[in-house]
Symmetry: D3
Subunit: 191 residues, 6 copies
């Protein structure tokens, strides 16, 4: 489980840290539920403090309570990663959209161009905001937030849309900067 | 300390959560050391889990052990925020560069255009990478990492450069998406 | 075979033309060899002259003699379509890369970001040129052609690289302009 | 007629192919009607199959039946080529706009910036769509097609606008990739 | 007054010209009123004709009669310079906005991102136009001018908005091209 | 001479000012030497101070002593105006390049894409710098100035290259902002 047989990133960040019992339990749980430990976790595992901070943020965002469904949060992840052409995140989160939606074509559409997907007004507004925030963060104005309210989102939901889109702008860049490789399993998942 | 007198963001995310003793202690420490609680913390304080995850990631990155000096990490923060035109982060981290460097002009230069600063080859390489990662994350290739190695950075340092630049690409977007207002104190600090 | 049950594009271009025997034979051959008639052909079939011109150009380019292998031509198709975020072409030609290479991950990599694929110098040069030609056609200079020669391509090969990349810049735009839908079969093909 | 005295492109693609009687007749007709054989045809003439496919597509598009006038199709050619800064196509099709419109200034305006021309709402909509399709093909949505319908275009016309704009996105790139030189005659034509 | 102790630009343009009495008087007036001679003037002083032309244009634009207040003209200068990341102009004109407005935060906001400032509809329209003219001059259309009229500006005012934004697109480029250094005094001014 | 029969700009800036004898003489000289008064001068003539400042700057730059030939300065004007798609400046200065070079094709090449012109290393370097300064002024670094020195330019020449490219970034924007119309005569000049 903790061996790192082929390089996960282009950086020699050294051996995996001595993991705490909590982290070992978290990895065991990934293995059990997903059948693998996502490579992003192994990439951070050279330093447990970094791994914990990343995981805590990620888990709260993608798995915590929210007015956005888990599928919607994964759709944001994929639409943002499409703009940034992030191989790791498109592989991992594209699989999640296919799985959570039970719709393989939808996963492809969001990964390739969400405008090709047959989305309702709410989801279109959500992804339009996420993509504008990705491409032109300096040009977000009150009218952009207001468009989300008109589409039915609360201010608390808008926080979550913003936080998810922002997180993947971080995560896409970590993956590109380090040439992070996704687990092979993602490619065939939920096709 | 915990009252939120004027709005910190454009979103009505509700009242501050009942804070844990640890968070209250953290806020007290901010007040004592900085003379204020940074508004970004108050913005996240409607939900303690989100606040903790954000703080843990931030503190590890900007204050933890690293081959990069604290000033260098702040320089990355400001160079990235300049590209993204982020008012909150340029205010807060511009002040940090002025303070840590004891050089008010340097803070302005990095905030306005780091190419106008009289940087050595190491710091230029560090900011060139950070800005390329910000503007064109999909175009980072091995040659970009190699340029950092040639400039004297270890792979472990490159992780930290990447992580800092990536974090502010998240943080800039949260600030823009929510119209987050910096504390007034930053403007006059270390001029 | 010739019925158009669900709309292939967003445009009402009218019923399929009375097809010539040659075109009917071509469609039969597609059905036999691919198990389907690619929707792009059905989209053009409202006017046989347009269909023939498109098919002749496409078949010469992708199936004719060339110093580029068929896989290489499909890789160009996919790398260009990735820049242009073309859902139709990424679906159809992504499948072709997976199939011709026998490497599902490679298909994903080129579709998501060819820089994440483990390509040799020849193929990297070929895709670098194709992507520059896509993004900044006005900035192609002799040095760009020379880089292809250095990578081992003849001038005749460079014509084919240019012609393939240029063709998909046309085809991507036709698909986006008309909201052309790929055949469902592509998604699961060669995974 | 078939000699290639000065290089038409930067690529050594070899001698002109043995041309079929049909192609020789086509060249004779060009010489008779235009007073020259357009260099683009000579550039493709090293391979007759490529020349025929290109010519068939071009002739159907620019000379075939359409709800768009020939002048309108040439205006699209020029507006697209202006975005892509294509020397060959601006020379050749700029001349065509000057000639078909009998208005030398109009040719210049479309070549330089179609927004400077005094166009009616129909032609403005047509060129706005063509330019968006050129610059941001991934961002075309139903509203863009609908704007054309509101301006009076049928869906069949929209196909032709899309096909013309898409074709010149191919053709501009072939010319830039090969450094194709326009016939000298274009410069003085219809001034 | 006329010595040039540390280099003001990266170019060796030679010694200061023998200045006319008018120019010496102008420099004396700067020294008296501003406490310094702005480095931009010293940079042009190697050639008095160039200095005079620049000064005449500048003074008419920024100090002459106009429907725009001096503060508004400085706001345009700073918003344009922010897009262009011009260190010289952001330093000098950022100071002017702080001074004329008596609002240090406003100066920072315009320099960092004018969308973060709490501007009224008139000033927002003025800066939206100035920034569009900076980023996409070729896309200005009648509707952009009309938006200024709706916001209350006369055609004569629109000329002045255009002239100011255009001037700083020149001035920003001169400063970047020559690596012009602002006077140190600007940093602390009006904080 | 001083009547303004058809509108020169889209702005109603009022009647021509009472012109000074010097300005009248200047206009007479234009009429005599060029056979027209350039519309840009008439556009500024509503305010003599503005007209004088503009003319003084323009005449020093384009007609004054310089290490750059007048043709080279016009080439910079046109290359910059091509990037900015400025109809007025491409018309007027395109004509000047045709005239000064005695080479109509050269004027077209620079107006359409200077990379298509057969320029020597010196002129290529000059236009590469001018275009980078136009497109990405914030990214000019010492290496860009050094490339000009290597191509044979003195620092004083670099000032003039910078000043000319910068001026047309102003002038292009004034023309676009006001929809300034070039004199009809330019179109046929020196073809």
């Amino acid at each position: 489980m903790t061996s790192k047989e082929s390089p996960i990133t282009a950086l020699e960040t050294g051996p995996m840290a001595e993991l705490s019992p909590e982290t070992r339990a978290y990895f065991d749980k990934c293995q059990e539920k997903l059948g693998m430990i996502p490579n992003v976790l192994l990439a951070y595992a050279f330093d447990e403090a970094k791994l914990q901070a990343f995981s805590m943020l990620y888990n709260d965002l993608m798995l915590g309570d929210s007015g956005l469904s888990k599928l919607e949060r994964e759709m944001i992840a994929v639409a943002v990663s499409s703009v940034n052409h992030c191989y790791y995140c498109l592989s991992a989160h594209g699989a999640a959209v296919r799985q959570l939606s039970g719709n393989p074509a939808l996963g492809e559409q969001i990964a390739m161009n969400y405008r090709a997907a047959d989305l309702d007004a709410r989801q279109t507004a959500m992804l339009d905001f996420s993509v504008k925030l990705t491409e032109q963060p300096d040009k977000i104005i009150e009218a952009d937030r207001q468009a989300l309210r008109v589409a039915g989102f609360t201010d608390r939901d808008i926080w979550d849309i913003a936080a998810t889109a922002s997180f993947f702008n971080m995560s896409n860049r970590m993956a590109s900067a380090t040439d992070m490789r996704p687990n092979d399993d993602y490619h065939a998942m939920a096709r």
